[in-house]
C-alpha cells in the first residue's frame, strides 16, 4: 500500500499497546514512576543498582504485556495445573527446601525459587475456576471444598514459616470465596470475633505481652511483633526500633516532606529495609502528606479500576479472578502502609510497584496482566 516506514512503526506501536486498558496503564505508570523516584533516593548506600530496578520494572511490564495477550479461557484451563504444580512445589519445599534466616521457603530447581509466591496467583485462579465449574449448581458444601483448596497451601506456607505470604494467599482465596457468594451469616461472626480479638489484644496488651506468657499457635517472634506494635517503646532499640524509626520518618516528613534525597531518617540508615518493605517511610519522609495523598489516590484509583474491570467481566471466572487480584493489590498496599506507619505488626509485605524486589514485581505484573487480559477479552467472550 506504500505506507511510510514511520507509519509502519506507528501501527506496530499501537498494535503493541492495543487492548491494554488505558486507565489502568496510566495508573500503573504513575505508580512505577513514584516507585522509581523513591528508589533512587532509597537505594542510596545500598548495594542495589538503578539498573536492577529498571530491569525489574521492565520485567514486570513484560510479564504484564504477555499475560494480557493470554485469553482468560487459557488461564481457566490451566488453573488446576498451576495450582497442582504450586502445591507440589510447596510440599517439595517442606521436604527438600533451603533454609535461610530460620525459614524453609526456597527450593533449588536449578534456580532458587520461592513457590509460595506462585500461590498468590494460583490460589485465586484455582478457586475462581472451581466456582466457575460449579456455577448454577452451587451448593453450600462447595464452600467447604473451596475452604480445603484454600487451607492446604496456606497451611504449607504458614509452617515454613512465612506468615506474611500465608496471610496474602489466604486473603486472595478468601476474597474469591466471599465474592462467590459466601453467605453473610457465615462471614459476620468471623468479623465480629476478629474485632473483639483485636480489641482484647489492645486492652490486655500488657498482661499477654509479659515475658513468661506464651501464645498458642504463634512463634515467639510473632508474639514479639504484635507486642512491640502495641507498645513500640517497650523495646526501643530492639524489636520496636524499626516501627519507631519509620514512624519518626513519616511524622517528621510533615505536610510537604523534607524533599527528594533530603530524608535524614532514610539517608542516615535509621530506616531498616528502606528500599524494600519500608520504602513507604522513605517516600513519606521526603514527600510528606502531600505525596502520600497522591500515592493513596493512585492506589485507590488502581483498585477502583480493577474492580470496575472485574464488574464488567464476561463470566464468573474472570469476575472472581479480577476482583480477587485487585483486592490483593489493595491488601498489599494496606498491610504495607499499615505496618510502616505502626498500625499493623511487621510482616514481610512489599508496597506494590514501589518496593524494590523482582519476585514481587513479577507477581504484581502478572496480576495486572490478568486484569488487562480480562479487559481486552471482555467482548470476545461475551459475543
Amino acid at each position: 500500500m506504500g505506507k511510510s516506514p514511520v507509519k509502519k512503526i506507528q501501527v506496530l506501536f499501537f498494535s503493541f499497546f492495543s487492548g491494554l486498558d488505558r486507565q489502568l496503564g496510566l495508573i500503573l505508570l504513575g505508580l512505577a514512576a513514584v516507585g522509581l523516584f523513591t528508589f533512587l533516593s532509597a537505594s542510596q548506600n545500598t548495594p542495589v543498582q538503578t539498573t536492577d530496578e529498571l530491569r525489574n520494572l521492565a520485567l514486570s511490564f513484560g510479564v504484564m504485556w504477555l499475560v494480557s495477550r493470554i485469553p482468560p479461557k487459557w488461564l481457566e484451563m490451566g488453573a488446576v495445573w498451576i495450582y497442582g504444580i504450586g502445591v507440589t512445589l510447596l510440599v517439595a519445599v517442606a521436604v527438600f527446601g533451603l533454609i535461610k534466616k530460620g525459614a524453609r521457603r526456597w527450593l533449588n530447581i536449578g534456580v532458587v525459587i520461592q513457590p509460595s509466591e506462585i500461590m498468590k496467583i494460583a490460589m485465586p485462579l484455582m478457586l475462581a475456576w472451581y466456582f466457575q465449574k460449579r456455577e448454577g449448581i452451587q451448593k453450600t458444601w462447595d464452600y467447604a471444598v473451596a475452604g480445603v483448596i484454600l487451607a492446604i497451601p496456606v497451611f504449607l506456607i504458614a509452617r515454613q514459616p512465612d506468615l506474611g505470604t500465608a496471610l496474602l494467599v489466604f486473603a486472595a482465596g478468601l476474597y474469591v470465596i466471599i465474592l462467590a457468594g459466601l453467605p453473610w451469616k457465615w462471614i459476620l461472626p468471623f468479623v465480629g470475633v476478629g474485632i473483639v480479638g483485636i480489641l482484647l489484644i489492645i486492652i490486655f496488651g500488657n498482661t499477654i505481652c509479659a515475658h513468661d506468657v506464651t501464645w498458642p499457635f504463634v512463634h515467639n517472634y510473632q508474639k514479639h511483633r504484635i507486642c512491640t506494635l502495641l507498645d513500640p517503646s517497650s523495646d526501643p532499640l530492639g524489636k520496636g526500633f524499626h516501627t519507631i524509626q519509620s514512624m519518626i520518618a513519616i511524622g517528621s516528613g510533615g505536610f510537604f516532606g523534607k524533599g527528594w534525597f533530603q530524608g535524614t531518617q532514610a539517608h542516615l540508615e535509621f530506616i531498616p529495609e528502606k528500599h524494600t518493605d519500608f520504602v513507604f517511610a522513605v517516600f513519606s519522609e521526603e514527600f510528606g502528606l502531600l505525596g502520600n495523598l497522591i500515592l493513596l489516590a493512585l492506589f485507590f484509583a488502581l483498585i477502583k479500576r480493577g474492580l470496575t474491570i472485574s464488574a464488567s467481566a464476561p463470566n464468573l471466572f474472570t469476575r472472581l479472578l479480577g476482583a480477587s487480584v485487585t483486592l490483593i493489590f489493595f491488601t498489599y498496599a494496606f498491610v504495607n502502609i499499615g505496618m510502616v506507619s505502626g498500625l499493623l505488626p511487621v510482616v514481610g509485605v512489599p508496597l506494590p510497584f514501589i518496593s524494590y524486589g523482582g519476585t514481587a514485581l513479577v507477581t504484581l505484573g502478572f496480576g495486572a496482566g490478568i486484569l488487562m487480559s480480562i479487559h481486552r477479552h471482555r467482548r470476545l467472550v461475551q459475543s
Binding site: 456455577e135 476474597y175 466471599i178 465474592l179 457468594g181 524509626q245 514512624m247 519518626i248 520518618a249 513519616i250 511524622g251 517528621s252 516528613g253 510533615g254 505536610f255 535524614t264 531518617q265 542516615l268 540508615e269 535509621f270 513519606s284 510528606g288 502528606l289 502520600n292 495523598l293 493513596l296 492506589f299 485507590f300 483498585i303 477502583k304 474492580l307 472485574s310 464488574a311 464468573l316 469476575r319 476482583a323 483486592l327 489493595f330 494496606f334 502502609i337 499499615g338 506507619s341 505502626g342 498500625l343 461475551q382
Partner: protein
Amino acid sequence: MVSFKKPDLDSFQERIHIATLFVTFCFLILLTRLVWLQLISHGKYALLAESNRIALVPAPANRGLIIDRNGIVIGRNYSALTLDVNAEEVKGNVDQLINELSEIIDISPRDRRNFKRSLEDSRNMGTFPLRSMLNEAETARFMANRYRFPGVEIRARSFREYPYNELASHLIGYIGRVSQHDKERMQSEIENSKADDPDALQASFLPGIQYVGKIGLEQSYETVLRGVPGYDQVEITAGGKPVRTLSSSPSVPGKNVVLSVDIKLQYLVEQLYGNFRGAFVAIEPETGDVLAFVSKPNFNPNDFVEGIDALTWKELNDSPQKPLYNRPLKGIYPPGSTYKPFMALAALENKKRTPSQTISDPGYFDFGNHTFRDDKKGGHGIVDMQKSIVESCDTYYYTLARDMGVNMMHDFMKPFGFGQITGIDLQGEARGVLPSTEWKKNTFKKPEQQKWYEGETISLGIGQGYNSFTILQLAHAMANLANNGVVMKPHLVKAIEDPFTRNRVLTTPKESYRIDLSAENIEVIKKAMVEVNVSGTSATAFKGAGYVAGGKTGTAQVFSLNSKDYKHGATAEFLRDHALYIAFAPADKPTIVIAMVVENAGFGAQYAAPIARKALDYYIEGKWPKEIPEWERAP
C-alpha cells in the same frame, strides 16, 4: 444472557460495592493515621528525627601550660597516637577484644587494668585509650587489621606531660581522669555559676572535660588552665558513624600560668636535699612571690595522669617517707629556735625587754616544780638580746615567755601569720597551732584540759610546746619581718598568660596589711640575725659569703607529722630532731627569705644552714655548687 444470570450478577455487583466500601474505609484509616503522624504529631517527630541524627562530639580544650618565672615550661601537652576503644561497642566482651588486639599490639597488664577501670568508672559510656604512644609499626599493623575491630580507632590525643618528672611535683600537682566525684562537683559549680543557659553548658561542657587537676597548681588553677571545651554538632547514622559536621563550637584553650617560682632554684634545692626529707620555702618579701616550694621526697606526677597502677600507688602511699605528703603546705613542725627572733621583736614592741637588758643564764630555768634546761650546759652567762639570738640562748626566752604570757605572744605572732592560713594558691593548707588561752578552751573537751597552765607558757618561748606551724608560715613570717611589717600574700602564680597573644595579666601582688612595728626594733632583730651568720650558730655555713645574710637556726623535737595526737616530749627517743633554718638576704634590702626543715637531720646549723647558703649563693650571685649536676632544659 443478561436475564438468566441476573441474580448471580446482582449478588456479585453487590459484593463489589461492599468491597469498594471496605477498601474506602481502610484507606480512610490509613489517611487518618498519616494525618495524625504528619500533621498533628509532626512537631514531636520532627524533633525526634533531629535528635536522632545529631550528636554532640566534645572537643577537649588544650590545657594551659605551666611556666616558671623565667619562661621554662614545666607542665605541657604532647600529642600521641592512641588506640581508642568505644566502650558502648565492646560492652560485654572486653577481655576477648583485648586478647585479640594484643596479638597485633603490645598491651601490658597495666594498660588492661587501667582501661577496665576507666570503663567501670564511666559506666561504659564514651571512648577510652587502651594503649597510648603507638609506634609506626603498631599503627600499621592495626590499620591492616582494622576491619576486625569495630569500635576501635587510632586517634591523636593530647596528653599532659611534666617534662622534669619529680621536680616540683608537689607544687605542680597533676591531672587525672574525671571521676564521678569530680563530675558531681563540676555539675554543682555550673549550677551555682548562674550561667545564661546552664543546660547548654552542661550538654557541651561536661562531656568535653576528660581530665581535671587533682592536686597542686593543676588543681587550684583548674578553671584557668582548663579552658572551655568545644563541641562539634555532627550528623550521625543509626550506627553512630559520623557523616558530616553541621556546626562546631571551637574550644577555647586554657590560659598559661606563669609561676613566681624559679624552677632552677627549686631544682638546686631539691638536689641539695639529696635523700633527706623536708620542706623548703623561699619567698621574695617585697612581692610575696614564692621562689621555691620544695617538698622532699617527691613523686613523679606523670605516673598519675593516665591513672596510676596499683603497685606504684601502694609503694608511694605506704612508704614511711611519705612522698605524697606536701610538707611545706601541710606538715606542721614546732619552729624551735627559729621562733626566737620573733619573740625578741615581740619583747621590744611590747616593751618587755630592751636590746641591752641582760639576764644571767645558769643553764636552766626553774618554773614551779619543773626545770627547763638550756642546750648549753652551764649556761650562756650574761645574755643580752643580740647574744640571745646569736647563741640561741633558751633561758632568755623562758623568762621572756613567762613575762609576756601566752596571750601577748599570741597577739603579736598572729599578724605575722603564725598558725594562720596564708592564703597561698594551693588547696589543703594546714593551719597549725598558735596557742592562746582562748585556743585551748576551744580545742579541748574536758574542763581540766581547757585551763591554761602557766608552765605551758615557758616552752612556747623557744618555739616548742603547743607551737606548731607550717614551713610556709615560717617563711611567710620571715618575709613579713624582712619586709618591715608589710604583709604580702604568698603566691606561686605570678601571671596568667594568653596562649595566643602572650599577653600577661599579673596576679598583682597586693599588700594584705601592715604590722605596726618600729623600724628601730626591726633593725635590732635583723642585725642580730646577721650576726648569727657571722659569729653565731650558722657562721660555719656562711663563711666567705659574698653578701650579707641574716639567719637563725633551729632544732625541733620530733613528733609525728599528724600532730593532733602530739604529746609533749613523748616521741624524741627513736627519731632524731628536725633541723630548721630561716634566712633573709641581702640583709640591707632582702630579695629572698628562706624557711626550711630537714627532717630527722639533727642540729639545724649542721644540715639546714648549708643548704640555705648554697641556695642563696645561686639566687643572689648565680653561683652553682660543683657537686650538683648542671640544670638541663628538658627536650
